[in-house]
């Protein structure tokens, strides 16, 4: 039964299929330089070329070995790129040129090479990853000593530490071609000068190329290759459903700390996991004490975590007081079968008494195997800050205070000695010790204990005023002082650290919570982005930017904490890379590490929707792991919000589309009627005048001309209305606001309608004390014209029209009321809809747009408009506009004031 399960695990099959779409990776692996990797690779390449495969050389190390040079003849080469670094021109593989050329196979020599700063990736293997990602097959050469997880073993064997390493993960799916020659032959070749060795390194390398070393390296490379064969076999068996001895579900857990030794542990764990094909977990327990790690230790911790990540370990960070307990708990939870932990160097006194973490883990590990790896390094200095960073007595004040207190107690004791007795005196002197320890921690505790002992000894213990002690039993009290001081101090220091750490954590949680709350309900992108930038700036202590793609998928700065110039072309290029590859890059990472900022993709289910960039003020520092996690949490929160808003926008667009469909129908109906009617009368009148001019007398000719004029005016009105509506709807109507007098606007509107209003009884009522309003004069005038026009249409000739303006509680309220008819209740709410016309017995010309336009304009100004039946036979339309409260004061000169202010109301003669 379990066989069945294994056989058809769809995830594994999918993984295999995915591999198919990537390029195939072949590594020519050698035990050391000079075994003929490049040669071997070129030989295969030539075969491929003769088969007609499209193969190019991306990078071949330019050693001048005649055999290699001969083989290179006829192999197409992509010219390397020249990069200037520190005034020297250096050559590097031209990644972009290869990607552009897109051959079937590309040759890349020296996989472990570190690129010149300024290249896209720090390491050449990252270039190779990108090539593979692009579907290009890669042939590469590599020496076993550069493989990360073997790096330290080889260093131990050969005594030569190689700095350039590549993570094991890149070799995971590679086909390994082992290039092997016997050690004697290699040494012979070395002697013949066939091995490329830089001059300065000859001596070191001679030491390196000893038969013993070479054999060890050969064995390691063969083992490595054999392991690959194993794995490929397994894949094959799985794909073909062949049952076999499947590895058990092993899990290896490595415990890491801020010690450099952890790096070694992680590598060992990787190898162990590799050997038994187990999953690797890397666990780091953050204790309150660790909150006081020094910067150096913090950096080391970041490095360790980074290495673990590179070696494809799952990183688990825990918080807790008891490291051993936390470790065991996670081990149980995750079904870990093997724990790898470092053997501590020097043990502290406390650890000696209570047992070290390792002891505890071993004791309580039950059925989990524990590998304790001895460290070869001394305990790193400064791993722990002995005093704690919280309220450290760096100032003199605490000491002064302690001394003062002790002096005071000595005085009291001196005066009341006979009352108190020696026992109580001893107790009395314990007080400042306790006080100092509780208040300022360990060092202050010890100091106050020592001070108390000195004073107690000198002033109280007989013989008084001397440090001599007659009774040796006092030594016991002294030790108790010291014990109390140190123990209490230690306790309080740790308590403080714990409080400090939990506060810090709380602050982070709060930051996340408050951000998510802030952006949860907001539907405006810019507001959301601004909140994010503000929050991230707070926690990261640097400059923050958010870049989102525009319509052409080009990244643009949408929000930033400083001016945008900081994010220049090259920074943007990094951001674009991050956006395209969905990977973190920039400062402190291996990809494009030369950038000023670090960039985190905003990943959501819909894909990457943008990039968050941080430029730390402190340029040299790594981001702390907790900061990094928080930033990533922020990034995903932001991604969610951005996605949500874009979805809302899409929904709105769809709605608009369907609405505009309806609108289009109404528009067509309206246009066909409202444009054709005046056109018909105009064409009719004009043709009459042109063709039968002689038939008409002066009066009829004038009539016809009037018809034409009216028709044209009507069409003009319609066209204007349609244009206004279109601009309102498309959002192209921009308010051109300025301070205006509402009376002036009304005057202007009435002036425009003067002719039409002549036949109506128009009454304008402007109340006193109307303030200036900040509006678009032309548009508000348009509203009033529309309302008056509407009022005239629906009232009888000579009908009364009232225009009333009031200052109503921070709002200007304008009502246009006309007498003559009512609007049926069911129509009232629709009269502001486009193309809606109240059905009345009379045929009323109009577009049905005037009120809709008015509504649009008023709402653009942040006001409201509504209609109501004011009385039995009158209708009123009212709009209100908010009064901007910050009406600017005009500086009035004295003379203006005395004359003008009075002169306004009663002009003096």
């Amino acid at each position: 039964m379990p066989k069945e399960e294994k056989r058809t695990n769809p995830d594994d099959l999918l993984a295999d299929i995915e591999k198919e779409s990537k390029g195939k990776f072949t590594v020519f692996l050698g035990a050391a330089a000079g075994v003929g990797k490049t040669f071997g690779m070129l030989e295969v390449a030539r075969d491929k070329l003769s088969e007609g495969v499209d193969l190019v050389a991306g990078w071949i190390e330019p050693h001048d070995r005649p055999e290699t040079a001969n083989l290179m003849v006829g192999v197409p080469i992509i010219a390397p790129r020249e990069i200037e670094y520190r005034h020297r021109k250096l050559k590097e593989m031209d990644l972009d040129a290869i990607l552009k050329r897109k051959p079937q196979i590309v040759l890349v020599d020296e996989l472990a090479h570190t690129n010149v700063p300024g290249s896209r990736h720090t390491k050449r293997y990252q270039d190779v990853e990108e090539l593979l990602e692009a579907g290009i097959d890669v042939y590469a050469t590599l020496n076993i000593q550069h493989v990360e997880s073997y790096n330290d073993i080889i260093a131990q064997i050969t005594g030569v530490k190689v700095r350039e390493t590549i993570p094991d993960s890149i070799l995971e799916n590679a086909r390994i071609q082992l290039i092997d020659i016997p050690p004697e032959e290699l040494i012979q070749r070395l002697k013949e000068g066939k091995v490329y060795v830089p001059n300065q390194a000859v001596k070191a390398l001679n030491k390196f190329f000893r038969p013993g070393n070479i054999n060890a390296l050969r064995e390691i490379s063969m083992r490595f290759a054999a392991q690959r064969v194993d794995r490929q076999m397994e894949t094959y068996m799985r794909m073909h459903g062949i049952a076999g001895p499947w590895p058990a579900g092993e899990r290896v857990m490595v415990c890491i700390s801020s010690s450099p030794f952890s790096e070694q542990l992680i590598r060992i764990a990787r190898r162990t996991a590799e050997g038994i094909k187990a999953q690797l977990l890397a666990v780091y327990v953050d204790t309150p004490k660790k909150g006081s790690l020094k910067e150096k230790a913090k950096d080391q911790l970041s490095k360790n975590l980074h290495l673990a990540q590179e070696l494809e370990a799952e990183i688990i960070s825990l918080n807790g007081e008891d490291i051993a307990e936390e470790l065991l708990e996670i081990a149980q939870k995750r079904n870990v079968t093997q724990i790898i932990i470092g053997k501590p160097g020097k043990l502290s006194l406390r650890e000696r008494l209570t047992g070290s973490i390792v002891d505890k883990v071993v004791r309580q590990s039950q059925n989990i195997s524990v590998h304790v790896i001895p460290g070869n390094t001394q305990r790193v200095e400064g791993q722990r800050n002995p005093k704690g960073s919280f309220k450290r007595p760096t100032h003199l004040l605490p000491y002064v205070e302690i001394i003062g207190l002790i002096v005071l107690i000595t005085l009291i004791g001196w005066t009341w000695e006979s009352y108190l007795g020696l026992v109580n005196m001893a107790m009395l002197f314990l007080l400042p010790v306790l006080y100092g320890a509780v208040r300022w921690g360990l060092s202050a505790g010890i100091l106050s204990a020592i001070m108390a002992i000195i004073f107690y000894d000198f002033f109280v213990v007989p013989p008084v005023l001397s440090f001599t002690i007659f009774d040796l039993r006092y030594v016991i009290s002294f030790s108790i002082y010291l014990l109390v001081g140190s123990y209490t101090g230690n306790l309080s220091s740790r308590l403080r650290e714990q409080i400090y750490n939990s506060r810090k954590r709380e602050a982070q949680t709060n930051a996340l919570y408050s951000l998510s709350r802030e952006i949860a309900a907001v539907s405006e992108l810019d507001t959301v982005l601004d909140s994010v930038v503000k929050k991230v700036t707070e926690i990261s202590d640097g400059q923050v930017v958010i870049l989102l793609p525009d319509d052409n998928r080009k990244l643009r700065v949408r929000a930033s904490s400083t001016d945008e110039h900081l994010w220049d072309e090259s920074e943007r290029a990094v951001a674009t890379w991050v956006f395209e590859h969905k990977q973190i890059a920039g400062k402190g990472t291996d990809t494009l590490g030369g950038a000023e900022g670090r960039y985190i993709p905003l990943d959501s289910e819909q894909g990457t929707c943008g990039v968050l960039g941080i430029m730390s003020k402190n340029k040299e520092r790594y981001l702390q792991p907790e900061q990094q996690r928080l930033l990533e949490a922020f990034a995903s929160l932001t991604a969610l919000a951005v996605t949500r808003i874009s979805l809302v926008e899409k929904a709105r667009e769809v709605q608009l589309l369907s609405e505009s469909d309806k609108l289009r129908t109404a528009l067509l109906n309206s246009i066909s009627h409202d444009l054709r009617t005046p056109l018909a009368s105009m064409i009719g009148a004009v043709t009459s005048l042109l063709e039968d001019n002689h038939l008409y007398d002066e009066v009829s000719r004038n009539d016809l001309l009037q018809t034409i004029l009216q028709g044209a005016m009507r069409m003009n009105r319609l066209v204007n209305n349609l244009l206004d509506m279109a601009r309102l709807e498309s959002g192209m109507l921009k308010l051109n606001k300025d301070w205006c007098e509402i009376e002036e606007i009304i005057g202007s509107a009435v002036e425009r309608l003067a002719k039409a209003l002549q036949i109506h009884d128009v009454n304008i009522r402007c109340r006193e004390g109307l303030p200036l309003i900040y509006v678009d004069f032309v548009l508000i005038e348009q509203v009033i014209v529309n309302l008056l026009d509407n009022a005239m249409k629906y009232s009888n000739p000579n009908g009364k029209i009232l225009l009333d303006v009031r200052n109503n509680n921070q709002e200007i309220e304008v009502t246009v009321q006309n007498w003559g008819s009512r609007i049926p209740q069911e129509d009232l709410e629709h009269i502001f809809d486009k193309f809606y016309r109240v059905r009345v017995p009379r045929q009323i010309s109009g577009t049905g747009l005037g009120l809709a336009i008015s509504k649009g304009i008023i709402e653009l100004h942040g006001g409201r408009i509504w209609a109501e039946n004011a009385s039995q036979d009158s209708v009123s339309v009212t709009f209100v506009l908010p009064i901007d409260r910050t009406i600017p004061k005009i500086p009035v000169s004295m003379e203006e004031f005395s004359n003008g202010a009075d002169g306004k109301k009663n002009p003096r003669n």
Binding site: A712, N716, N720, L723, R727, N736, D738, W739, C740, E741, E743, E744, I746, G747, S748, V750, E751, I764, C766, L772, D776, F777, V778, E781, I887, P888, I890, E895, E896, N899, G900, G903, K904, P907, R908, N909
Partner: protein
């Protein structure tokens, strides 16, 4: 048919408008020459020496605003701009560049003729006249006395300055920024509310019904003119 003998240059790319203007203006005694683009128009400026230019802002070869700029470099010939309704900012730009007046399409012929007359009168007439009269409004610049219907109206210096600025440009639209600069000095273009308040005060003093002004007319979104 009047016989003014004045020459008008019409620069407009719309043949219909040119034809209409040619017929109507010739009938009113003007000598009319037409250009369908800016370059031709500028050439005609030199050869035809018009007394007034009617200029459409939307021309095929050059921006109408550039035409105004070019003309103003060497000539004070009044320019009357034809513009579409919604382009308030265009109008203001045209006026600030030195156009004398504008008229919005579509326009009535009576209105256009009135503007042409105002424009023609301007030339050489902006000079100081001691006493100016607009119906019931009379301004005595020597005594600095303003009367409405024979009754003296007390104006503050700023109000008086504003009124005079409008009066010496009788009939012409003065843009907000022009008025602000003329009365309050430079760097006051953003203080639009000064102008509104003083125009309001002035109207209350010299207009019979300040909500229906007869003298100081509002050109919505553009400025004011005194008639």
């Amino acid at each position: 048919m009047e016989q003014t003998g004045k020459k008008i240059l019409v620069i407009d790319d719309e043949a219909q408008i040119r034809r209409l203007l040619k017929v109507a203006l010739t009938a009113h005694g003007f000598e009319v020459q037409q250009s369908s683009d800016a370059i031709d128009g500028l050439n005609s400026m030199v050869s035809f020496k018009p007394d007034l230019i009617i200029l459409d802002l939307g021309l095929p070869d050059l921006d109408g605003l550039d035409v105004i700029k070019t003309v103003r470099e060497w000539s004070k010939t009044p320019i009357l701009v034809l513009s579409a309704r919604e382009l308030e900012s265009e109008k203001i730009k045209a006026l600030d560049l030195g156009a004398d007046d504008y008229i919005t399409k579509p326009f009535g012929m009576g209105e256009l003729l009135a503007r042409i007359r105002t424009g023609l009168r301007h030339v050489g007439e902006q000079v100081e006249q001691p006493i100016m009269t607009f119906d019931d409004l009379r301004i005595d610049r020597v005594k600095r006395i303003v009367t409405v219907d024979g009754k003296e109206v007390k104006l503050t210096p700023t109000e008086y300055e504003l009124l005079i600025t409008l009066a010496v440009n009788t009939g012409r639209v003065l843009t907000h920024s022009f008025l602000l600069k003329a009365v309050w000095g430079p760097h006051t273009e953003t203080q639009g509310h000064y102008l509104r308040i003083y125009i309001g005060q002035l109207r209350r003093k010299i207009e019979i019904d300040s909500s229906r002004p007869r003298h100081i007319l509002t050109e919505p979104g553009v400025g004011y003119r005194l008639v």
